[in-house]
């Protein structure tokens, strides 16, 4: 249809993802939320269905689609649950792109292709306890040994961190230079079954409860020389290279979540007894829905513009940060409006609205908080 970037093939892909979500995921989501973990099999099955690495060339183990396929997938998977969407999003767009860009053919074979097949689960390790968003303060370090490196330190807020087969990790590989505190870091692909690697804690979170988030601890973890990803000391640069894709994926996940909750709001508004068109209560609600619908559409259009440029090899850095900021806030606002409509009753534990509301709150914190995005945007605006 005119005005839509999606072709018939994309529409078919969307239907396939939706069918998987409806038939294989949604029936179990409550149970997985209650159990605080969705099964590893979700990754395997996604790989089997060809949903991981959709926009990656076939020779790298992907499906060879354009970026719109990723947009379809991330939007649709958000309908399953925030946790599943986040876990898979980390797999497809956060821990793997650096391997594709900077990896050796061996690393591609060993990590990337199995990841796209859903056989290996990955995670990405940047943040550290007491460091937050400040990459320059990273303290985890790798010292060269005869046949590789030995890594010591810890990593915080690691999505997929409890079950990951490997972590794409940034660590310090030279002494900190006070004049260039972000220099001298490198990326490593760290296998989680190495001696000295441990999960200090599975973090207990407000929402995204069936996603596993870990505090990791590395105590003299010996990695081989070929665990280094890309160029030594170029870690932060390589990390930043991947940032645009992560943010855009983050925006798409937030958009997908916002759309899912908006649909819920419409449904709730429609079925609410006594709220027939024209009633006073309904008029208030109509206004709120009209405003939210408009905000949602504005977010969608800006995200799609970013996707369109991305497809043409153009990274709209400022707009991507804007989209991340705006979509995260919108998701929270819609979640809040869904709550508001329930008035005094609050939310039953186990109700999808209740978990969606808690899940949505993460978007404004994770993947670079609102404040970080504003800082980034203002820098890009030349401020």
């Amino acid at each position: 249809m005119t005005g839509s970037p999606f072709t018939t093939e994309h529409d078919e892909l969307r239907a396939r993802v939706r069918r998987w979500v409806d038939e294989e995921l949604l029936p179990h989501v409550d149970e997985w939320e209650a159990a605080d973990l969705f099964p590893d099999d979700v990754f395997h099955r996604a790989g089997e269905l060809g949903f991981l690495g959709l926009s990656v060339p076939v020779e790298d183990g992907g499906q060879g689609w354009d970026y719109w396929a990723t947009a379809v997938f991330l939007e649709e998977i958000s309908r399953a649950s925030g946790s599943i969407a986040m876990g898979l999003g980390v797999q497809t767009d956060m821990c793997t792109p650096q391997i594709r860009q900077f990896g050796t053919p061996e690393q591609v074979e060993r990590y990337l292709k199995p990841a796209y097949r859903g056989e290996k689960i990955g995670s990405v390790g940047i943040t550290e306890p007491d460091v937050g968003s400040d990459v320059a303060s990273i303290r985890t370090h790798a010292k060269p040994t005869a046949d590789g490196w030995v890594i010591n330190g810890s990593k915080m807020y690691i999505t997929n961190g409890v079950r990951a087969d490997w972590v794409t990790m940034v660590v310090r590989t030279s002494e900190q230079d006070p004049s260039a505190p972000s220099a001298g870091m490198s990326l490593f692909l760290v296998d989680t079954d190495l001696p000295g690697f441990s999960i200090s804690k599975k973090l207990d979170k407000l929402g995204m409860r069936s996603s596993d988030t870990a505090l990791l601890f590395l105590d003299d973890v010996h990695v081989p020389a070929d665990a280094l990803l890309g160029t030594e000391h170029e870690g932060v640069k390589q990390l930043m290279w991947g940032l645009q894709g992560e943010r855009l994926a983050g925006g798409l996940l937030a958009l997908g979540g916002a759309q899912m909750m908006f649909d819920q709001l419409l449904e709730d508004a429609g079925v609410r007894p006594g709220a027939g068109t024209g009633s006073l209560r309904s008029q208030r609600l109509r206004d709120r829905i009209a405003e939210l619908a408009t905000d949602l559409e504005a977010n969608r259009r800006l995200i799609y513009d970013c996707c369109d440029k991305w497809n043409q090899g153009v990274y709209a850095r400022t707009e991507i940060a804007m989209v991340k900021l705006a979509a995260a806030q919108l998701a929270s606002r819609i979640a809040d409006e869904v709550m508001q409509l329930q008035a005094g009753n609050g939310y039953r534990v186990g109700d999808a609205r209740e978990s969606a509301w808690r899940d949505a709150r993460l978007h404004r914190i994770g993947g670079g908080s609102d404040e970080v995005q504003r800082q980034v945007i203002s820098r890009m605006m030349g401020l």
Partner: protein, 400 residues
């Protein structure tokens, strides 16, 4: 030139509220709440439970009795003191537990005190003030037309008893209370039935209760009540026949006021903790609290908390004045309490949300209370009317 006598204007506070003894009581209440409750809150939240024995402890310390007459074991009547206790209790930061204790003392006991017979007071009020009996209340709302909303319990007379059938979806402190104050209708199928109030012993045959499991208020014993042919003796009917709707309406004003007081405290506590956290937390080599965007946001939040507090204290002042028989403009108290509830809920929710944000990643971890304030304030609206109802009250008060 104006002629006037400067001597006529002394520098006495024109708007008194708390007296010295209230300040002293606040200090005592704060120490008590900290030691007996606050220090255990994190554990109780994890367990979704706290010891029912707490009612006895609080009662024994005399904190349920501030507004009640010594005849029934109270230390009052002093409404301001009971407001002080409500505030200090709210500082514990566990909105569910606070809702339970508030429902017991400020709602159930107050219903009994105002509308009960001496015999009912002897049987229910006195042991409740002592914390030996635990009370709960069904949440009713009164709509524009003065109709009690959502009455789903039906009461039919049978000899000296009433037979109650139906369900009440939202009963505060309901799952473990010994008795419940519940409204019921003579006939739930007509739009304007007779409304009655009952003291329902929960041990009666046919009473079933299901505790709510909600995203917030994890320690609360809010419950759904269902009654199947429950017999309640007529002596447990509460209030003078015909005055029940007025009683419910009157009670709602007090509920709104207490909820507003607690919302201000919730906002204040969450702001205090967020500021403390950002003072400790380093980012980019300096405390988060040293960043201008946080300083200004905290300034905005602090401003809203103070506005909320002044607005609510004014409503309390009016309430006390009316209770003490002073002249209050007709409708002024209704408007003031509706405004207080409307404004303080908004402030508490916004403050809690920003305070989660101020914590960064830690704001999303259950080990920090920030996320609890966020859940609790968002869910903390039952009782006293929805946003729409409150707006209606305010708009109507301007003749709109």
């Amino acid at each position: 030139m104006l002629k006037l006598d400067p001597e006529a204007f002394a520098a006495e506070p024109a708007l008194p509220l708390f007296r010295e003894e209230h300040d002293a009581y606040r200090e005592a209440a704060r120490d008590f709440v900290t030691a007996v409750i606050t220090d255990n809150v994190e554990d109780w939240e994890v367990d979704r439970e706290y010891p029912r024995e707490l009612f006895r402890t609080v009662g024994a310390a005399g904190h349920f009795g501030a507004q009640f007459d010594p005849q029934w074991g109270g230390a009052g009547p002093d409404l301001v003191a009971s407001a002080v206790f409500a505030e200090e209790l709210a500082r514990c930061g566990s909105a569910g537990l606070v809702a339970d204790l508030r429902a017991h003392a400020a709602f159930a006991c107050r219903y009994l005190d105002r509308y009960g017979t001496d015999e009912q007071k002897q049987r229910y009020l006195a042991p409740s003030i002592a914390g030996e009996l635990v009370g709960g209340v069904g949440v009713a709302e009164v709509d524009d037309a003065g109709t009690v909303d959502g009455l789903a319990l039906r009461a039919v007379r049978d000899g000296n008893d009433w037979v109650l059938d139906g369900a009440d979806a939202l009963v505060l402190n309901g799952s473990w209370a010994d008795y419940l104050i519940v409204p019921a209708a003579s006939d739930t199928s007509t739009p304007d039935p007779e409304v009655m109030l009952f003291i329902l012993d929960t041990a009666a045959a046919g009473v079933e209760r299901h505790r709510h499991l909600r995203g917030g208020w994890r320690t609360s014993h809010t419950a759904e009540l269902s009654c199947t042919a429950v017999r309640v003796p007529d002596e447990n009917r509460l209030g003078r026949p015909g005055d029940e709707v007025a009683a419910i309406t009157e009670q709602l004003v007090w509920e709104r006021l207490l909820l507003a007081l607690c919302a201000v405290v919730a906002a204040e506590v969450s702001l205090e903790q967020a500021i403390a956290y950002t003072r400790e937390r380093q980012a980019f080599g300096r405390p988060v609290a040293s960043f201008q965007v946080w300083q200004h946001r905290f300034a905005d939040l602090g401003t809203e908390v103070e506005l909320a507090r002044s607005l609510t204290y004014h409503a309390l002042r009016l309430y006390v004045a009316e209770e003490e028989g002073e002249d209050v403009l007709p409708g002024e108290l209704d408007r003031a309490t509706a405004m207080a509830k409307l404004y303080t809920d908004r402030v508490a929710q916004r403050t809690a949300d920003e305070c989660v944000q101020a914590h960064g990643g830690a704001g999303y971890l259950t080990e920090y209370p920030a996320q609890r304030y966020w859940r609790d304030t968002r869910l903390g609206v039952p009782g006293g009317g929805s946003v729409d109802t409150l707006r209606e009250i305010v708009a109507r008060s301007y003749g709109l």
